[in-house]
Amino acid sequence: MRKTKSVRTVTALMLSISVIAAMTADIACATAETNTEKGFRWRNGAEVYSKVCSYCHESQVGPRLFGRELPPEYIRTIVRNGSRAMPPFRPSEIDDESLARLAEYIQRN
């Protein structure tokens, strides 16, 4: 019989929910009908930065953001509207709360 476990990317919840199954599972599976859990959500501003922004802003594609004390409101406006070649990011991708944390993270680094 195939062993399954619930799929979540939020580590803490995943651990708490499926520890027993995970111990023996060799595949990751959950049926759509029974999985009522939510999908991926951001942990904090640093995670958004490392998993989205850094790919351009740490590789000379986009300008460096750290060390410039960029105001949070400016960051919010650019993220939501885009700028030149930078695409905008929607609340469905980066929710308002995560965006606020991202802006704080960039400002203080």
Binding site: V7, T9, T11, G39, K51, R80, A85, P88, E93
Partner: protein, 514 residues
């Protein structure tokens, strides 16, 4: 003109739209229904040379479940509201997250982002539309599943559902993504839920392993189309090979592409080189290393002499062939001998591996793409002209040297007429090539905007007149491309549309299907 909304669907009164919005809110809640200018701002920006107002949505809906989507299509049928579905919304250069037509309601499925299943043994995944490649990549790494992804260059922020449904390509042996799709769940316009292939059979466990099911194969009609809303999507993943050997072969003249393609084709068809090889022009790779302003100033396209100097300065070929071997070290050794012997005959090729080119930024990002690692380095292209203008011109070519040279020369000639550069590459299928050209222009310069539009229009006209079809196009030119494939195909598409979506609520205009 409505004061309450920034746009309205075509033919829909503000009063009717009020009712539809109220019904959407009752299904999704107020926080998941956007109508204000500020909320809709991220759904408007495109890289196309047309006014953003042509593609301004009237609203956006964030759905997270199949049941919500079934209710949404019910409301759309009731009020005849058109919806434009997006997944990650990062189809940059093809229309981004904006709808095809002004006033359409965007159905945003980004938050529907569960990874439902990854089977290590059978090497497949089943995901929802909002899952990004990065999310899946991290999941596979976290669970040590030993599987590789194939993804397009916008990897980290794009996703497998949207990319494959638009028949995008990647760079690994699984690079022709739709070939590796296996099973979909689709909400139809009437609210019914179809599972394609083996998924239609209750209790089947072969949905993600056998593509065809029984009877006519249906998955294809839900790609590049507007016949349903795909809510689950299965696809195959590549087991990580024991050894991976990326390499680049450089040639110094544009005419050398004839030799390159004639050598590559038999190696690719026979599987000696298994991946989607890229033959990239110097100007496609240059932005990773150089600034255009260091080589040319003023209007007009960059002269050939400047391209040669740039290539020499930055250790690029005029053509750069990126490919890789995947297998055991012994297998790779045998195939490496075959590859090097084939390319050494004429004496024109310069063959470089990780040992010689491992620190080169162009080689590094190409190697990452060929093993399915996350990189957005290709976005350096957007710094070449600056100003955020980009359209992908994507005609298909035979994998035949004379044909590729002809397409390259024709494209370059038309681009030059409008003062634009040839930033092109060929992505090698087995018998075909996706000829991919980034038509880059400064969207803040009205002159370049006009030139880019006219140039793209002429490219489509001239290429179709010569029998070269385009495989994918941005939302401003979908009707024009649909026209090039002739009236019979267009009528069949329309017949299917009428049968499956009689009220025309799903993404009107997609691929020229209204």
């Amino acid at each position: 003109m409505s004061n309450k909304y920034i746009a309205l669907p075509k033919g829909i009164s503000e009063k009717t739209f009020d009712s539809a919005i109220a019904d959407f809110r009752s299904v999704l809640g107020d926080a998941a229904v956007f109508t204000s200018a500020q909320q809709l701002a991220p759904y408007i920006k495109t890289m196309m040379p047309v006014p953003d107002s042509d593609h301004t949505p009237s609203a956006a809906l964030m759905a997270t479940t199949v049941e919500e989507i079934q209710k949404i299509v019910g409301i759309c049928n009731r009020y005849k509201i058109p919806i434009w579905t997006i997944s990650t919304g990062k189809n940059l250069g093809y229309g981004a997250a904006a709808p095809a037509e002004r006033g359409q309601v965007v159905l945003d499925l980004k938050r529907m982002n569960r990874i439902l299943e990854v089977d290590k043994d059978l090497a497949y995944a089943l995901v929802e539309p909002g899952v990004t490649y990065k999310q899946l990549y991290d999941y596979i790494a976290e669970h040590k599943l030993g599987l590789w992804l194939s993804m397009p260059a916008p990897s980290a922020i794009a996703g497998p559902v949207g990319n494959t449904l638009d028949r995008g390509v990647g760079y690994t042996p699984y690079g022709e993504h739709f070939l590796f799709a296996c099973g979909m769940e689709v909400v139809l316009a009437n609210g019914e839920v179809l599972r394609t292939g083996m998924g239609s059979m209750p209790n089947s466990n072969t949905w993600q392993v056998f593509k065809w099911g029984y009877g006519p194969y249906l998955d294809g009609i839900f790609t590049q189309s507007n016949y349903g809303i795909v809510t689950k999507f299965g696809f195959w993943l590549m087991p990580a090979p024991p050894a991976f050997k990326p390499f680049v072969i450089q040639y110094e003249d544009e005419e050398d592409i004839v030799e390159i393609v004639e050598i590559i084709r038999p190696l690719r068809i026979s599987g000696v080189i298994p991946n989607a090889v890229v033959i990239a022009h110097a100007l496609y790779e240059a932005p990773v290393k150089a600034r255009r302003s260091d080589y040319v100033t003023g209007p007009g396209s960059i002269p050939d002499a400047a391209v040669r100097k740039l290539a020499k300065d930055h250790h690029l070929g005029i053509w750069n062939v990126y490919a890789a071997l995947y297998g055991t070290p012994e297998q790779n050794e045998v195939n490496w001998k075959i590859v090097t012997q084939a390319f050494s005959k004429s004496g024109k090729a310069k063959i470089l591996t990780e040992r010689e080119a491992g620190d080169d930024p162009a080689f590094k990002y190409r190697a990452s793409l060929m093993r399915g690692d996350m990189t957005l380095q290709e976005f350096s292209l957007y710094n070449w002209r600056g100003g955020g203008g980009s359209m992908w011109f994507a005609p298909v070519s035979q994998a035949r040297g004379s044909e590729t040279l002809k397409q390259m020369a024709l494209t370059k000639q038309i681009l030059a007429k409008y003062g634009l550069d040839y930033s092109g590459e060929f992505i090698v299928g087995m018998r075909d090539m996706h000829h991919i050209v980034d038509v880059l222009y400064d969207k803040t310069d009205p002159g370049q905007v006009k030139a880019a539009y006219q140039c793209f229009d002429e490219l489509l006209t001239v290429f179709s007149a010569q029998g070269y079809g385009t495989y994918r196009v941005n939302t401003a030119f979908m009707d024009k491309v649909a026209e090039t494939y002739g009236p019979v195909q267009r009528q069949v598409h329309k017949t299917l549309k009428k049968a499956l979506d009689p009220n025309g609520i799903l993404a009107p205009g997609k691929s020229g299907i209204h």
